[in-house]
Symmetry: C2
Subunit: 237 residues, 2 copies
DNA sequence: CAATTCGTGTAATCGGTGCTTACATTCACA
DNA sequence: TGTGAATGTAAGCACCGATTACACGAATTG
């Protein structure tokens, strides 16, 4: 067990059936079959993640919220991990959608500017959805080699980042620096800041919650200035 | 529950009593009182963390390995979290010791060089002890505001880093850059790389396990070159 | 030396969890 | 209309964290 703080709240005894399509034949009583239990379970789990983090997700609680017996979810997910996997897919999908939407507004002529925009969108989502971000980052909730959904969305984002920096490289914005090193450093910087935020490190480093977003932009600019400005043979456009 | 894969291995039925001081009166039979159960439990938990990560630690398994009943640990730790807290203290202590040992060999005249040395030692330990590193980083295993042990060791390391970069600033090695931004960026970079490693991101970014340590040094150098070279004051309008 | 006290371990138990099995119900299709 | 597959329920297993009552033994003290 791992979830002892539950305050023993029972789900309300009445009104457990959410709106859902019904054959229009039965009067109103709770039907035996749930409309789309799989979807409802994922939504419930997503909500649990948002409320108490990944560890707050239990199959039984998700079933409870769906108004269904404790064994029912196992018809749709072979294990709790499989449920978490589906949750991760959903979170990763939303994450990617927001990133790409933000990037759509970025000018296409300035790769480093696009990288900045990408980093800002990444950090903004991570700070606004810390628990969901943790799921798609911390490998213990799904197997990247087996989860096609999460993996492909994630690979797409990785590719996007790499391509953006590669364009900056081609455009001479990185001088003679090693492209791969810049990619890993950039990713480490952004990921590290996001993790510092969700792991609660920022206050101990003197960054108040209110300053976090500003600081995110500042360190991105610092990084871009560091790699963009030609220390040695670079050509700042 | 969270630990279903256990392969049902029983602890060996004999020889469960580790070496420990005894009153030299009783012959040899298992004494009722354990010599230093608290210490043994922490060691067992440390071992469990090393074997299967933080989630693999259960009070019962630690008790099993200590050859003691399932309720015994609660005489020494009021909860599983308290045990994890003690484990985190131990890990943090070792971490700090290794960092400071490495830093003792660094030249004192070159702050940025000391920062590099610090970063290398940090990443080396994190990559060699990923599961223990996770405990002291991921806030869910202890309360930083309440755990004096972890907190003070950690604050010491934060202070060390901040002081090192402040010296670099005073020595003019950072140009006119904002010190705090450099500190947060540096921390993000290092923490992010460590996290990428323990979260298994590096392979997906094209960094094989064998190259990881080299890459760690490379991105540190890249960062230091970016902030060290006096490329103008990185004018943030 | 004897008696008491207190720290420490044991045994039994509770509620929560993931997961499985046997059974019930309903839907979809022939 | 009938029948099989899908999907839900009920009951139960093992494991977990945590609590309680009790047993043991070592140290303290008269």
């Amino acid at each position: 067990m791992r979830r002892p703080a539950k305050t023993s709240e029972k789900s309300p005894p009445a009104g457990r059936r959410p709106a859902k399509p019904r054959p229009a034949r039965a009067p109103a009583a709770k039907p035996y079959h749930h409309g789309d239990l799989r979807r409802v379970l994922i939504d419930a789990a997503m909500q649990l993640v948002g409320e108490g983090g990944p560890d707050a997700v239990s199959v039984r609680e998700a079933a409870r919220r769906a108004g269904v017996s404790p064994g029912a979810p196992f018809r749709h997910f072979p294990s709790r991990d499989a449920l978490m996997n589906a949750v991760a897919e959903e979170a990763q999908r939303r994450f990617r959608a927001e990133i790409e939407a933000a990037l759509a507004d970025a000018p296409s002529g300035d790769p480093l500017g696009r990288f900045r925009c990408l980093g800002i969108a990444y950090l903004r989502w991570a700070m606004k959805n810390p628990t969901h971000f943790e799921i798609i980052s911390s490998r213990r909730f799904f197997d990247h080699d087996r989860s096609a959904g999460v993996s492909s969305d994630n690979a797409e984002l990785i590719g996007l980042t790499e391509r953006t920096l590669a364009e900056a490289f081609s455009a001479g914005q990185l001088g003679r620096r090693d492209l791969k090193q810049v990619q890993i450093a950039g990713r480490s910087l952004v990921y590290g800041f996001a993790r510092m935020h969700i792991d609660g490190h920022l206050p101990r480093w003197g960054v108040a919650a209110a300053e976090a977003e500003r600081m995110a932009a500042d360190i991105l600019d610092l990084f871009i200035a560091g790699i963009g400005a030609g220390v040695a043979p670079a050509a700042k456009a």
